[in-house]
Symmetry: D2
Subunit: 388 residues, 4 copies
Amino acid sequence: MNPVAAKIRMGFVGGGEGAFIGQAHRQAAGLDGGFELVCGAFSRDAHNNQQTGAALGLAASRCYSDWQGMLDSEAALPAHLRMELLVIVTPNHLHAPIASQALKAGFHVFSEKPAALNLRELLALKQVLEGSDRLYGLAHTYLGYPMVWQAREMVRSGVIGAVRKVLVEYPQGWLSQDVAGQGNKQAGWRDDPEQSGLGGCIGDIGTHAFSLAEFVADQPIEQICAALGTHIAGRQLDDDAAMLLRMAGGASGVLIASQVCAGEENPLKIRLYGDKGGLEWRQEEPASLIHRSIDQPLQVLRSGVGQPWLCEAARQRMRLPAGHPEGYLEAMANLYGDLARAIRDPAPGPDAPGVPGIETGLRGMAFIEAAIANHRGDAKWTALACTQ
Amino acid sequence: MNPVAAKIRMGFVGGGEGAFIGQAHRQAAGLDGGFELVCGAFSRDAHNNQQTGAALGLAASRCYSDWQGMLDSEAALPAHLRMELLVIVTPNHLHAPIASQALKAGFHVFSEKPAALNLRELLALKQVLEGSDRLYGLAHTYLGYPMVWQAREMVRSGVIGAVRKVLVEYPQGWLSQDVAGQGNKQAGWRDDPEQSGLGGCIGDIGTHAFSLAEFVADQPIEQICAALGTHIAGRQLDDDAAMLLRMAGGASGVLIASQVCAGEENPLKIRLYGDKGGLEWRQEEPASLIHRSIDQPLQVLRSGVGQPWLCEAARQRMRLPAGHPEGYLEAMANLYGDLARAIRDPAPGPDAPGVPGIETGLRGMAFIEAAIANHRGDAKWTALACTQ
Amino acid sequence: MNPVAAKIRMGFVGGGEGAFIGQAHRQAAGLDGGFELVCGAFSRDAHNNQQTGAALGLAASRCYSDWQGMLDSEAALPAHLRMELLVIVTPNHLHAPIASQALKAGFHVFSEKPAALNLRELLALKQVLEGSDRLYGLAHTYLGYPMVWQAREMVRSGVIGAVRKVLVEYPQGWLSQDVAGQGNKQAGWRDDPEQSGLGGCIGDIGTHAFSLAEFVADQPIEQICAALGTHIAGRQLDDDAAMLLRMAGGASGVLIASQVCAGEENPLKIRLYGDKGGLEWRQEEPASLIHRSIDQPLQVLRSGVGQPWLCEAARQRMRLPAGHPEGYLEAMANLYGDLARAIRDPAPGPDAPGVPGIETGLRGMAFIEAAIANHRGDAKWTALACTQ
Amino acid sequence: MNPVAAKIRMGFVGGGEGAFIGQAHRQAAGLDGGFELVCGAFSRDAHNNQQTGAALGLAASRCYSDWQGMLDSEAALPAHLRMELLVIVTPNHLHAPIASQALKAGFHVFSEKPAALNLRELLALKQVLEGSDRLYGLAHTYLGYPMVWQAREMVRSGVIGAVRKVLVEYPQGWLSQDVAGQGNKQAGWRDDPEQSGLGGCIGDIGTHAFSLAEFVADQPIEQICAALGTHIAGRQLDDDAAMLLRMAGGASGVLIASQVCAGEENPLKIRLYGDKGGLEWRQEEPASLIHRSIDQPLQVLRSGVGQPWLCEAARQRMRLPAGHPEGYLEAMANLYGDLARAIRDPAPGPDAPGVPGIETGLRGMAFIEAAIANHRGDAKWTALACTQ
């Protein structure tokens, strides 16, 4: 008889009432089923913090007024009670400081992206992580979609041949107007370099497009040539970016990320073309992967349990038969599932397989810094640098 | 300060390892976040039962070998520990017997559809329910989708005018071959009248199409003219149905439900046309509701938090901003959420608002019986009867 | 050296200014390139008639005030000058009388559908045709689309196995309002049984759906069970129809044709399912043929010169490389092209291969009469009869 | 009574059997109905030339062995017989020399794009045109689509506000392999700089994307930053291009044109975003124009006679009711129709309204030269120059 499975005890920093992404994390973890919320420091606003904790069924004693206190108090609890995993869903500037302290205090960390505010801070976090035996994951949710793994596998196994072109785009419209000026809290801190980092759109969604491109094409982007834009008076950071790409494997590409594409929702999309065929995936219709070929009709591979032509990595990330839509929360729940397996692994490695980690964070930060440098300078091409 | 929210204690009958729908229920309840699994009788196979319970973190004492024992034992526990809600995910023939016993033992019930094997049994269950103060919900998951509610609201408020035509279709392909003969367990019991009832496809998915049509058109189907079919040698029940409809409000319609539409996944779809316009919704792309009009261009209403043109009922059933796909589990989680609110309601009514209940079950049973009677008889039209 | 090709001399009855379908015929013939307009009796309105002729470059002497005069005068011209082919684009009640006279006078005929007002008249026309050596074609334009031929070929060659289900639908919206009452000329005569025949929607577009189903499924529809409707006060003929189908090869089906599906344009669509797979084609996106299969991913076959996987019949009906849309006029031009080849064929048969003819007209008329009889009667099923 | 309309007498250089584009021009002109083919020099291959002429019904005397002879002989014919319009469908390097001679000899010209091999040659042609009273049109077929005009009108009238972003892409796949090496004639001359000019993909389809962007955005592109690529050993010209754009009105953009996007057909696509909304049009589905807005649901405007919300310019370019697809040949026929009206205009201007002319050619040539210069040089941005 198997032993009774114990859920992983999870705490949150951030994610008080009204914060979209914190709620999404809790829903995804709930969907996965392997986690139990045991504590939180949800908001700097004491009322919101208590309110959120109570609504989530936490005793007042596990609802902390600040994250430092939470780390200390939880570390002092008996091993079978204390938090095992800290989920960080604060504004960007707190990601690295909290993650570092949590790792040092012996907790696994799952952090919203970006990993840090800048490359320097990120390299420091990396050093902490290298001296730790804890796991660190980064919530690049789009890398949790099964058909993204299917696409990567088809690239790797040569189905489309040598990759020549990568076209990735992420056009959103929600910053077409001055929403920060109109009181949108998320738009507010995202435009404050102190809280958000140097990149606006380029950091917020450009990094998703970037990571998706490197992940699926299975080769790093080496050089970029970028144009950034800012379209609202008083806005401090970029709200729009486009760039040409040169990749390590010889492919060229285009990356578009914008938050002023009025009326667009969230259509992150990637297309890859090799000498034998092409692939296309679009986040708003995540169950379909289009496969074009030079010598046969277009195929649409569909997500869904029981499709024998899908790869193992894709199949592990599905719950339902084809035609029963799975979406964003399911993709995030896949990251949580991989995290749970890694935490419970009796012989864990330094990474949680399947979960984007510090290297993904590092690549994304190099991307942001290169984009800004290229935009500001005169050179046509700028190389991505993961060291200082 | 709000009191700490207590999760609703939930038990399962059925849903052992390998059973798709039980797992979906647990994932949906987890996604909602308002429930805690406390007990189960997951499988008649003792090993599977124990295995499932252990994997779900249940102590062996709350993992029961049969549902009767579970009802008795749980009823004997102190109120603050015992199960509050029983989820029934067994083959069809057990739905009504278990539900009746559970209601009598003082538990709320959430049952997979159909509510019963036949009209007689269903009316008996209804009588039990009427003598109870417990809630009864039926897992018509497709009625949990936000854009289904949006469509219904647009019909009700006259956006498309008086409804003239309702076209609903549910073409699946998974029974195109003799999958039961090939060992598919779900196909197996579904084709056994003792376990499944008189309807095959007509009961399994025809009732979904039927309920969706009545729900969105906001008027009952009164008469049908049906042709059923069975396409595999040795198959006992229908695997295909098509019928003409006459509705109470004067609309006519067509209902197609089939499980031999080779290659189709799960594209339940409804179209309605009134004298001012039309609506179209398709389950495989659930975030989009197409609105056609006689005097303006086609519109696509999209699901997503923050779209001011959506109705309140739709908005309550969304979690994420537009463009972040929500799917089948989210729709089911919406039913769980409504159930949780109704259970915690200090002044509960007989129904859980928003959750399909015994009336939906009754209509569906009348539909199955009318379809079979019409198919077998000579009359062109057969009226639906909810009484015997 | 090849001899210089002479264009086929063509005359029109009907198709004066303001008449949509006459203009479409001239554009399609022009696109084909094998025809030359030499005469016409375009309108009973003398001014419109002269105006149309002049605009089309006809000398006044070849612009006739009535079709009888035209037939007489043209027959009296020297063989190398006189009309060879008569195109009939009048209201329905004139189709058969004109066609009969034209055949008798030695002209080939290409007629708008329906071939006649009723079965009796149609059988009389058939007799005339059997005594003639002239060709007779019927403008079932949708049968000119290349991917319709591709679908038929895939059915014939067994790609989807034995056909079990045929779902054909043709929902239009243009009669949702009382457009005849508002002065729409086309809606006007179409609702007059004297000019239109007994069928309204069932004749106007139901026959297109019917012919497409028989053509692609490659088997006759034997029995139908129908419900017709009329939705506007004062409207004489049906504006809506739905029916269940039984086909000769054992397939069952559903046919929907309606002109009160408010907001719909012209989405004639057919789906067929066999024991190995299914096909789907939609007139509004005519270049794509969806092929579903029980054992491989969905494929989309696309129209376009140079796709080696398309059948010969489809390839002959394309002009442009894939991705350069061809549409309705190209489909009609395909009928004209087949007609031209048959007319110039030194050893012509009784039919123009590839062009729907009197048999298609006969089947369509049997369909209309069966639909009306079934709708009016009590019997569930009515057989189609092509004889009286 | 109107006078009898006389068709415009048209001659061809190029377009012998096997040449796709020449046939398309004849079909488009035939569809329009205002033209009559009277002469041609279809091929340098004498047999093909005679064969083509005979098949098209030309007397041998009007089928010329070379274009110079044709110009001379036709000019010597009586005015009521001789060619009025010369259509040039040869390889690129002959476009300007033939056009210049034809204009000088008194013929109107409709030329395939590009107008010339390089900017110098183009400016010379422009000078000839300025000294002539003849019309000159350039076959930018995609500018003949009605919904392209609708999009431009919506931009002009401020429906989407001030344009911020223009994303235009034209990914084809037909040069993914070495098709020239495999004997494809069209691929062959297109890769020869002597016949094709300096641009490969950038000239062949990049100019279509460029012209579409300037036309719809209604503002010139001023600067570009480009990366070109060549992917087949031995291929001389670029087969792939991507670039960042800066436009005169302050918009930024991205242009992608590639012929190595394996499996892609012809999905030229443009998206524009302003501060109030966005537009999207895709050539493979040309009847639909998507309109996104910051404050209402997405709309799909559909091409089709009788849609009152479409602009006059769009309505003039439609033939059929909505839902009856019109495509590439219809778009080209729209250019022919505009050309016919301009030629018959009793008070003609220097341009044919609605037909792209020498200025469009000039812009396209400046684009090609700037793209190549930028690609080869070190500067990040290169300005487009229409003068030398």
